[in-house]
Amino acid sequence: MTGLEPLAAVLFFSSLAALAAALGAAPLVLGVPPARRVIGWANALAGGLMIGVAYTLLQEGLDGALIAGGFGTLVGVVFVRGTHTATGTGELDLERPEGAGPDYSYKALLVDSLHAADEGVAIGVAMAVSLPLGIAMAATLAVHNVPEAMVLNSVLTSRGMKPFQSSFLSVVVNVNQVLLAVVTFTLIGLWPWLLPWVAGFAVGALIYRTLVELLPESYRQAGQTSIAVVTLLAMGVVVLLAGVAT
C-alpha cells in the first residue's frame, strides 16, 4: 500500500459523486420540464439524504469526543448562517425566479457551490473513518446531487440559459466537493484528533442547510404528507447503506 492509494480513492469517488450532477439535466434534455411537485420531491429526497448522512456521521465520526462534536456542530451552523447573511442568499427563493433581481442566477449557483462544500467535508470525514463508509457516503451524495442539479437546471433555464450550459454549470459547482473531500481527508490523516470536530461541523452544516433551504421550499411545492414520506424514505436508505458499510 502506498500512501497515495487511499487519497486516489477519495479523489475518484468524490469526482464520481460530483459528475452525477450531470444526470440532473435529464428532464430538460428529454424535453419534459419537471412539474412543481416533482421538484418538491427532489428537494425532499436531497434533504432526507442529508439528514441520513448526518446520522451516520454522528454514529461513526465522534468516537466519544462529544464536546468536540458539539462545538463542531455549532461552528457548522454558524458557518452556513454566516455565508447566507454575507452573500445575501438567506432568503433566496429558488421557487419564484420570475421578477427576481438580475443577480438571481449567480446567487442560485453560489448557494449550490456553498452546499457542495459541506458535502465534500462529509465525504472526507467518512473516508477517514473507513473506505466502505466513504464509498457509501459518496454514493449517497451522488444520488443527492441529481435532484439538486435538477432544481438548479430548471432555475437556470427559466432565466434563458441553454440546457447544455446549465448542466455543465451544475457539475462545475460541485468541484468544491472534490476539493474539500481531498483536503478534509488529508488533514484528518495528518491530525487524527480533528475527526470529531470536522464530523460535528459537517453534521451541523448539513442538518441546518436541509432545514433552512430544502424542507421549507419543498413543503410549498408539494403537500406536507408526501414530503414527509419522501424525506423519511431517503433517510431510511442512508441508514441501511451505512449499516451495510460498517
Binding site: 442538518i207 441546518y208 432545514l211 413543503y219
Partner: protein
C-alpha cells in the same frame, strides 16, 4: 429467581422524571407567535435526535427489521391522522384547543406514548441478561426522559395547556415504559426478537410526526433561520446527551 418489584419501582421513577421536562414552561406567561414557532422547532429537534438513538439501537439488533418497523410507524401515524380527521363533522377537542391544534397535541401524546412502549422493551431486554436495574442506570434513564418531557410540553404549552397539565401528559406518555420493562426483563428472548421492529416503529412515527406536523407548523409562525438553528442544535444536543449517558 429474579425479583421484579425493584425493576418496577425504578422504572416508575424514570416515568415521573419525564414530568420534569415541563418545568421551563412554568415560566412562560404569554404565548406569542414566535414562542409557538421556536417551541415546535425545539420539539422537532429533540424528537429527531431521540429517533437517531432509537435507530442506532434498533439497527444493532437488525437493520432490515428496524426499517420495516419504521415504515409501520409511518403507516400508524397516517392511519391515526385519518381517524382524528373523520369526526363526522364534529370538531376534535383536546384540553383547551379545537381543530388542528387539538389534532397535533393528541398525535404528539399518542406518538410519545407509543415510543415509550418500545423504550420500555429496550430497557427490559438490555437488563434482562442477569444485570439488575441499579440506581445508576435508573438515573441515566430518568435523565434521558427529561428532554422528552420538554418535547411534549413544547407542543402542548403553545396551545394554551397549563404547564402543570403538560407535566401530567409528559408522565402519562412515559407510563408504558415501566409497564413494558418488567415483562421484557422476564422474557428477554421473546422480546428481543420484537425489539428492532419496536424501536424502528417508534423512530419512524417520531420522525414522521416531526416532518408532517411540527416543522411545517414552526415554519408557518417563525423565521426560517431561527427555526433551523433551534432544531439543529436541539437534535445534535439530544444525540450528544444520549451518547454521554
Amino acid at each position: 429467581m429474579s425479583d421484579t418489584s425493584p425493576v418496577f419501582v425504578y422504572a416508575l421513577l424514570t416515568a415521573l422524571a419525564t414530568g420534569l421536562g415541563a418545568i421551563p414552561f412554568f415560566f412562560v406567561r404569554t404565548i406569542s407567535e414566535r414562542f409557538v414557532a421556536y417551541s415546535e422547532a425545539v420539539a422537532a429537534g429533540l424528537m429527531l435526535g431521540a429517533s437517531f438513538g432509537l435507530v442506532a439501537e434498533g439497527t444493532a439488533y437488525g437493520s432490515g427489521e428496524t426499517l420495516l418497523g419504521g415504515l409501520l410507524g409511518v403507516g400508524f401515524i397516517l392511519v391515526t391522522q385519518r381517524i382524528l380527521r373523520d369526526q363526522d363533522g364534529q370538531e376534535l377537542v383536546f384540553e383547551a384547543a379545537r381543530g388542528d391544534g387539538a389534532k397535533r397535541m393528541l398525535l404528539m401524546v399518542v406518538v410519545m406514548t407509543v415510543h415509550s412502549f418500545a423504550e420500555g422493551v429496550a430497557v427490559g431486554v438490555s437488563f434482562g441478561g442477569g444485570v439488575t436495574l441499579g440506581a445508576v442506570i435508573t438515573i441515566a434513564i430518568a435523565i434521558h426522559n427529561i428532554p422528552e418531557g420538554v418535547a411534549i410540553s413544547a407542543v402542548l404549552r403553545p396551545e394554551g395547556v397549563p404547564a402543570s397539565r403538560c407535566a401530567l401528559w409528559s408522565i402519562f406518555s412515559s407510563l408504558p415504559q415501566p409497564l413494558m420493562a418488567v415483562p421484557a426483563f422476564l422474557f428477554v428472548e421473546t422480546f428481543r426478537v420484537a425489539l428492532p421492529y419496536g424501536l424502528g416503529f417508534a423512530a419512524g412515527a417520531m420522525v414522521f410526526m416531526v416532518l408532517v406536523e411540527l416543522l411545517p407548523e414552526a415554519y408557518k409562525h417563525g423565521e426560517r433561520a431561527q427555526v433551523a438553528t433551534l432544531a439543529t442544535v436541539s437534535a445534535v444536543g439530544m444525540v450528544l446527551f444520549q451518547q454521554w449517558l
